[in-house]
């Protein structure tokens, strides 16, 4: 970053701090509905009229539309004017999101999302402890990913990595000299490309993998719905979601913004417009968010840009959002650390990097969700994933133990339920899990059989009087 850019950033930050201290706009009684009308007075009097209790009336309300040459950004569908302050823009986005239709997944349906990314990969050194500096071994690679998530906390992804691209022959030579390959196909052991994987979680401590989805599959239900609580937990890193709370890189001034970006680019199950609305409302409560105004993405789409100028990063992470519906259009300069890294696809088994290790500086230059998520059946997943995913559950039961009930008591009941219902002839096998930390104990059962089996187990749990709540989720939204 040039010194001039540093100064601009400092000034922008200073101005933002000053403007964000603005009080609410004053209420002017004379302009309230039903107030006495003001009349024009002489020019001389104009400069002496400072009272707010005058009984002037303004005749000729010929408020001609302002013929200003300034660009006034309007929401195309509603004609809403975009405010200039970041917080006001974010609240507008949250309001528009709250009006969006909730995706209704049927049983056996998955929410399918397509993403394209451009990665920048820079091998900075070879060897441990700082190693030997490597100069110029830089490349970019295009990645396309498709992900699927269902209402049972399961997600799958498939990603394809393109050939390494180089800015110059020097870069390519340095890349080759470091034992790196130009495409995944050139490796001695061909890399699986596309990479396909499924993961499942019903816990809130998941830390799964997935390109661009660094915090792993996360159930929205584990996050607070109240924006101020959400903002606090995201800022302080106290959501209880390990991959979200422990950021891989010191984010500098605003870790909350980075965690919001993580959530926006993560495969969330149970995602709803209401959750994303709360997320943008939470972002509006965080300090230091800078509105970039109308921003054009690298594909030519237009949205509102936001970032947090930070002195700890060369390029601040930026999001571009469609204000009409809150859809994420683009993320730029996303931190790559902690995420599945396509760099591995370019490392041959003979590379010194495999034997010695080394230092990498990788970033996602841009990440673009493609189109709107849509519901698909399991049979529409790639065959390997459909096989991995297996049959979708028919229902989940989550039972939260009453206060004072011991883990041992719940464990005994779990054994009894499984021995009674998880036997041939009583339906499909049942998976179960008992989580005793953090308390209270939570006992969950995952069913693949008929509803009658689900109801029978639920009845047993309820009649045991050991639980404060027994929730049955049939996964149909």
């Amino acid at each position: 970053m040039s010194k001039s850019e540093v100064l601009d950033m400092e000034i922008r930050s200073l101005v933002a701090e000053l403007i964000e201290s603005a009080p609410p706009a004053p209420s002017i009684p004379e302009l309230e509905p039903g107030a006495a009308r003001l009349t024009p007075v002489s020019k001389r009097r104009h400069f002496h009229t400072t009272t707010r209790s005058g009984v002037f009336t303004l005749g000729g309300l010929t408020a001609v539309a302002a013929a200003t040459v300034l660009v006034v950004l309007l929401l195309p569908s509603t004609g809403q004017r975009i405010p200039s302050a970041a917080a006001a823009q974010l609240r507008l986005i949250a309001d528009n999101l709250a009006n969006q239709t909730e995706p209704q997944l049927q049983r056996n349906e998955w929410l399918e999302t397509h993403i394209k990314e451009e990665w920048s990969m820079d091998l900075e050194s070879l060897g441990q402890g700082g190693g030997t500096p490597v100069s110029g071994a830089e490349a970019t690679a295009a990645v396309s990913a498709t992900e699927w998530s269902n209402n049972f906390g399961e997600s799958c992804y498939s990603l394809s990595i393109g050939q390494a691209q180089f800015a110059s022959v020097t870069n390519e030579d340095a890349w080759d000299a470091a034992g790196l390959t130009n495409s995944p196909q050139q490796q001695d052991t061909p890399l699986e490309n596309p990479t396909e994987q499924c993961e499942s979680t019903t816990s809130n401590a998941s830390n799964g993998a997935g390109l661009g989805f660094g915090i792993g599959t996360t159930r929205v239900a584990t996050l607070p719905a109240d924006p101020s609580t959400l903002a606090h937990e995201l800022t302080t890193g106290t959501t209880g979601i390990e991959g979200l709370d422990q950021l891989p890189i010191d984010p500098g001034q605003n870790p909350g913004f980075q965690r919001v970006v993580d959530l926006l680019t993560t495969d969330l199950t149970d995602q709803t417009p209401a959750f994303y609305s709360a997320l943008y409302d939470a972002l509006a409560l965080m300090p230091g968010i800078h509105a970039l105004g109308e921003t054009i993405t690298h594909t030519g789409s237009t949205g509102l840009g936001f970032d947090v100028p930070s002195d700890s990063l060369t390029d601040a992470t930026m999001i571009v959002v469609d204000p009409t519906n809150g859809a994420l259009i683009e993320v730029r300069n996303l931190w790559a650390a902690g995420r599945d890294d396509p760099f591995q696809a370019f490392v041959s088994s003979q590379s010194p990097f495999v034997k010695q290790g080394g230092g990498l500086h990788d970033t996602i230059q841009w990440l673009d969700p493609i189109g709107a998520p849509s519901g698909v059946h399991t049979s529409d997943l790639p065959p390997t994933l459909a096989q991995q995913a297996g049959p979708l559950p028919t229902a989940l039961i989550t039972a939260t133990a009453s206060s004072g009930v011991s883990t041992q008591t719940i464990d005994t009941l779990q054994t009894q339920v499984l021995s009674r219902f998880n036997v041939p002839g009583s339906g499909a096998p049942i998976d179960s899990e008992l989580r005793s930390a953090p308390s209270p104990e939570i006992l969950s059962f995952t069913f693949y059989g008929p509803e009658s089996q689900v109801r029978d187990v639920a009845n047993v749990l309820q009649s045991s009087a050991l639980f404060a709540s027994v929730d049955v989720d049939y996964g149909d939204g």
Binding site: K3, L7, I11, L14, L18, P23, A25, H46, L61, A63
Partner: protein, 154 residues
């Protein structure tokens, strides 16, 4: 569609208040906006103004400049600054105020419109009714003063 004065004010009240905050600080922005808007409404010219938003901006600027010059109001400001009237507002660090106070009112206006509203010099010139060259001069001097205040090498 023509807007009533009330509608027009409600539409622009927030941005005018933020602009005034950049000129005179958070404790006096509301007063400056109130004075400016009432001044507009009782002006004989108001009904004939075609660019009412720009006119409101200029009037807020003029009112802020008057406020800036007024020793009487400065005294009042010092008295009121001891009151907890802005207790619910985000606090502005003293070093930020110290940097801004080095700027003239016109430099503040240009800096705020450049760095907060992301306006180009020609758009600022149109809004404030001054020349492009004047905007660029104020911007350059404002940046220079802030560079010293912020101790940033360039």
């Amino acid at each position: 569609m023509d807007l009533s004065d009330g509608e027009l004010y409600r539409k622009h009240a927030d941005e005018l208040t933020r602009f005034a905050t950049g000129l005179v600080g958070p404790n006096h922005a509301a007063d400056v906006v109130s004075q400016a808007v009432l001044g507009c409404l009782v002006s004989a010219k108001w009904s004939k103004v075609s660019g009412k938003r720009a006119y409101l901006y200029r009037t807020v600027f003029t009112e802020a400049a008057k406020f800036h010059r007024s020793s009487r109001r400065r005294e009042a400001r010092e008295q009121r600054s001891a009151l907890p009237e802005s207790i619910d507002q985000p606090e502005v660090r003293p070093e930020v105020l110290a940097a801004v106070i080095r700027l003239s009112i016109r430099q503040r206006a240009v800096i705020v419109l450049t760095y907060w509203d992301d306006l180009t010099p020609s758009a600022i010139a149109e809004l404030l009714g001054i020349s492009d060259g004047s905007v660029r001069r104020h911007l350059a001097r404002g940046r220079s003063r802030l560079k010293e205040a912020l101790n940033v090498e360039e």
